[in-house]
C-alpha cells in the first residue's frame, strides 16, 4: 500500500538532490538572492516545514492535553509527520548559511576563548527552540510509541504533552520574530506571532489530512478546523492589506477561496478532491512564505530559478520518503493491538477524577521537573547575563526571555522521563544510551575548545612598532639637514642651496594626515628624495609622530 508513495518520494528526492548539491557547493549564490534579497528559498522552505511540523504536535500533544479524544493511530501519524517535517526543516537554515561550518557559533554558550553568541539575536532563540523541539518531540514520539506495552511510560504521555504544548507555539513565535524585529517594511508586524502560528496550524492540518487520506482514513474534526482556520487566515490577510497594502491574489485564492469548496456536499464526499483542496492550502501558504521572504521591492536580480524549484522538490521528496519508510518500518507499534478506537486511558482518567482539582493529576507528576527546569533556566539566565564579554552590549529582559521556555521544557522533559526510561530500556539500549551520552560530551568538549587557532590565509603581519629613541636618531641622521633638528628649517644651509621646505606646523600635519605624510617620506616629493629604499613604513610613521612632537604636540 505504501510502495507508490515511497517510489514517488524517492524520485522527487533524487531529482531535488542535484539542486541541493549545487546549493551546498555554490552557497547562497546558487538560489534566488542578490545584494538586497539576502534571504531566499531555503528560509521560505524552512518556515513552511516548521509550520507543517506544528499540526502534528497540535493534534497529538495539544488535543491530548485538552482531553479531546482522537484515536491512537491518528495521533501517532501526526507525531511522525512532525518528526519528518522537522528533519526536512532543519536542513534549510544550515544550507542558508554562507559559512556552514561556523554554525556552532550560534549556540549560546561560552567557549574557552570567551566567545559567546549574541543572545539578542532571534536566530539564536530560533536555534535553541528548534533544537529543543526536535529533541522533545522525539522523546514524546518514542514514549507514545512504546507506551502501549510498557506501563511506566503510560503516565508520562499526558504530562509531556502539557510540556510540548507551549513549546510548539513558542517555536513558531520565535520564527515569526526573525522577521518581526527587523526594519524591513514587509517583515514588520507586532501581530506576526499569532499570524504565523495560525498559518502553521492551517498548513499542518492540511498535511495531516493528506497523510490520513493515504491511510484511507478521514477525521471530520480536522477538516472542519481547517475550514474555520481558512476564515481566520483571510482575516489576517485582510489586516496585512490594511497595514501594508500587500495583497497576493494567488495566496488568497488558493488559501481562502478554494477551501470554501468544502461547503459543497459532492466535494465533501470525494476524498480525492479534499486532498486537492489540502494541497492548494499548502501551496498557498508556501507561496505566502516565499513572497514574505523575498520582498518584491528589492528584487533586482534573477528570478525563481531551477535551483529554487529543485530545493522545493528535494524537501518534498525527503519528507515523503522519510515518512512512508518510517510508517512501514514502525507499522506494528503504530497500529498497536487495538487498531480502531479510543485513547481509553484518557477517558478512564476523566471518569475517575471528576471532583479533584483541574490539573492536579498531571501537575503532580510535573511538579519536580518544572521546578528543576525553572531553577536551571534561572541559573542559566543569571550566568549568561554576567558573562557577556562585550561592555558595549546592553541586555534587557526582552532579549533573553525567548530563550527561557525551551531550556525549561528540555530540562523538565529529561527530568520527567529519565527514571521511567531507564527502567524500561533493554540492557543493550542502555549501553547505546551511555555511548550516546559520551558522544554528546565529546561534542560539548569540541565546542568548548572552539574552532581552529590557525591564522586565516592571507592574514596580515604586524610590523615592529616605532619607538621614540630610534625616531629621533633617524630624524637627526636623515631629515635634520634640511628640516632642522627642531623641525624648523636649517636656514643657512637651505637658503644657500635648496628651496625652502614646507612648514611643519601641527595644523598642517593634521590637514595632510598620517598617510599622505608617510607616503611623502617613502615616495618623495618635488625637491625631496624618496626614502622608501632606506626606511620601513613603520619607521616613516615614527618620524611623522616625531614631527608632531617637534611641532608642539602634547605641550
Amino acid at each position: 500500500m505504501y510502495r507508490i508513495p515511497i517510489y514517488i518520494g524517492v524520485v522527487l528526492l533524487l531529482l531535488g538532490a542535484t539542486a541541493f548539491g549545487v546549493s551546498l557547493w555554490e552557497g547562497p549564490a546558487a538560489w534566488h538572492t542578490d545584494m538586497r534579497t539576502l534571504w531566499g528559498t531555503p528560509i521560505a522552505l524552512f518556515v513552511l516545514w516548521i509550520g507543517l511540523a506544528h499540526a502534528g504536535t497540535l493534534i497529538s500533544a495539544i488535543f491530548l492535553a485538552l482531553g479531546f479524544p482522537l484515536d491512537r493511530r491518528t495521533s501517532m501519524i501526526a507525531e511522525l509527520s512532525t518528526l519528518c517535517s522537522l528533519v526536512v526543516a532543519a536542513m534549510f537554515p544550515l544550507l542558508h548559511l554562507g559559512v556552514i561550518e561556523n554554525f556552532y557559533m550560534v549556540i549560546p554558550f561560552l567557549d574557552a576563548r570567551g566567545n559567546f553568541a549574541n543572545i539578542r539575536s532571534p536566530l539564536v532563540w530560533d536555534f535553541c527552540s528548534i533544537a529543543v523541539y526536535a529533541v522533545v518531540s522525539t522523546i514524546f514520539f518514542v514514549t507514545h510509541l512504546l507506551s502501549e506495552k510498557r506501563e511506566p511510560l503510560k503516565k508520562m504521555v499526558r504530562p509531556m504533552s502539557w510540556l510540548l504544548f507551549p513549546l510548539v507555539l513558542w517555536v513558531h513565535t520565535v520564527v515569526s520574530l526573525d522577521f518581526a524585529v527587523t526594519f524591513v517594511r514587509e517583515w514588520q508586524g507586532a501581530f506576526f506571532p499569532l499570524y504565523f502560528i495560525s498559518g502553521a496550524i492551517y498548513s499542518g492540518l492540511a498535511l495531516v489530512i493528506i497523510l490520513l487520506m493515504a491511510e484511507h482514513c478521514r477525521v471530520r474534526l480536522l477538516e472542519k478546523l481547517m475550514l474555520a482556520l481558512s476564515w481566520v487566515m483571510a482575516a489576517f490577510w485582510l489586516w496585512e492589506f490594511m497595514l501594508k497594502g500587500t495583497f497576493s491574489f494567488e495566496v488568497v485564492f488558493l488559501g481562502a477561496v478554494v477551501p470554501q469548496l468544502l461547503w459543497l456536499r459532492p466535494i465533501r464526499d470525494n476524498s480525492f478532491v479534499i486532498m486537492l483542496v489540502a494541497v492548494s492550502v499548502i501551496l498557498s501558504l508556501g507561496l505566502e512564505r516565499y513572497i514574505l521572504v523575498t520582498p518584491s521591492e528589492y528584487n533586482v536580480g534573477n528570478a525563481f530559478g531551477w535551483v529554487d524549484l529543485g530545493l522545493v522538490v528535494f524537501s518534498l521528496g525527503l519528507f515523503v520518503t522519510l515518512f512512508f519508510v518510517l510508517r512501514v518500518k514502525l507499522r506494528k507499534p503504530l497500529e498497536g493491538d487495538d487498531v480502531v478506537m479510543g485513547e481509553l486511558s484518557v477517558q478512564d482518567e476523566e471518569k475517575a477524577n471528576p471532583v479533584v482539582g483541574e490539573l492536579s493529576n498531571n501537575f503532580h507528576l510535573l511538579r519536580l521537573p518544572l521546578l528543576v527546569g525553572f531553577l536551571v533556566t534561572l541559573l542559566y539566565v543569571l550566568w549568561a547575563v554576567s558573562v557577556v564579554p562585550d561592555p558595549m552590549i546592553s541586555l534587557s529582559v526582552a532579549n533573553i526571555a525567548p530563550l527561557c521556555l525551551p531550556l525549561l521544557v528540555l530540562v523538565a522533559t529529561v527530568t520527567l522521563c529519565a527514571k521511567s526510561f531507564w527502567q524500561v530500556l533493554a540492557p543493550k539500549a542502555k549501553y547505546v544510551l551511555v555511548v550516546l551520552m559520551g558522544v554528546a560530551g565529546m561534542l560539548v568538549g569540541m565546542f568548548w575548545a572552539g574552532g581552529s587557532s590557525a591564522a586565516a590565509p592571507g592574514a596580515v603581519s604586524v610590523q615592529e612598532l616605532a619607538t621614540p629613541k630610534p625616531a629621533e636618531k633617524i630624524w637627526e641622521a636623515r631629515c635634520a639637514s634640511c628640516h632642522g633638528r627642531d623641525g624648523l628649517f636649517n636656514e643657512k644651509f637651505v637658503r644657500e642651496f635648496y628651496p625652502v621646505p614646507q612648514k611643519l606646523s601641527l595644523e598642517r600635519l593634521d590637514s595632510l594626515g598620517m598617510d599622505s605624510l608617510v607616503s611623502v617620506i617613502l615616495n618623495g616629493r618635488i625637491n625631496m628624495n624618496a626614502y622608501g629604499d632606506r626606511l620601513t613604513e613603520e619607521e616613516a610613521r615614527g618620524l611623522v609622530f616625531y614631527m608632531r612632537l617637534l611641532a608642539g604636540e602634547g605641550k
Binding site: T173, F183, A190, L225, L227, V232, L359, V397
Partner: protein, 148 residues
Amino acid sequence: MDAVLNSLCCLMALGSSMFLWRTPRSVFKEGGLITLYLVLFMTFSYLTMEGSDATLEYLPLRMLALCICFSVTSIRSHKTRYLVMAQILWLWIEFFGGVSLVYRGLDMPWTRVIAIGSCAAGSVFMNHISREMEFILMVYWIAIWMFF
C-alpha cells in the same frame, strides 16, 4: 491611546464576548464568530488609530484576546483551565508583540505584561470560581486596559 478609545475597545470586546461558546457549540460557529470579531476589531483599529503608530499593529489581536477572556467566564466545565489559557493567549500577544516593537525602538509595556502574567499565574490556583470572582477578574482586565 487615550482613555475614551480604550473604553470603547473594552465595550466592543465585552459585547462580542456574549455570543462565543454558547451551546450548541460547533467549530464553524465559533470559528466564524472569531473571524467576524477579528475583522470588526481590525476595521475599528484601522479607522481610529494613526498609521504611523506601530502599536496599531497588534491592537485588534489584543481586543480579541480580551474578548476571549471575557467569554471564557461563561464556560461551565473546566473553567479554570480555559481561563488560564485565555489569559496566557493575551499575555502571549502582549509580550511577543512587545518584543518585536522593542527592536524597533519602542518600549515594552511592562506593567501590562506583569499584571496579566500575575493574574494568569494566580488563576492556576483557583479551584472554584464563583460569580463574584468572575466579576472581579473582568474588572481587573478592564482596569489593565484603561490604565496600563
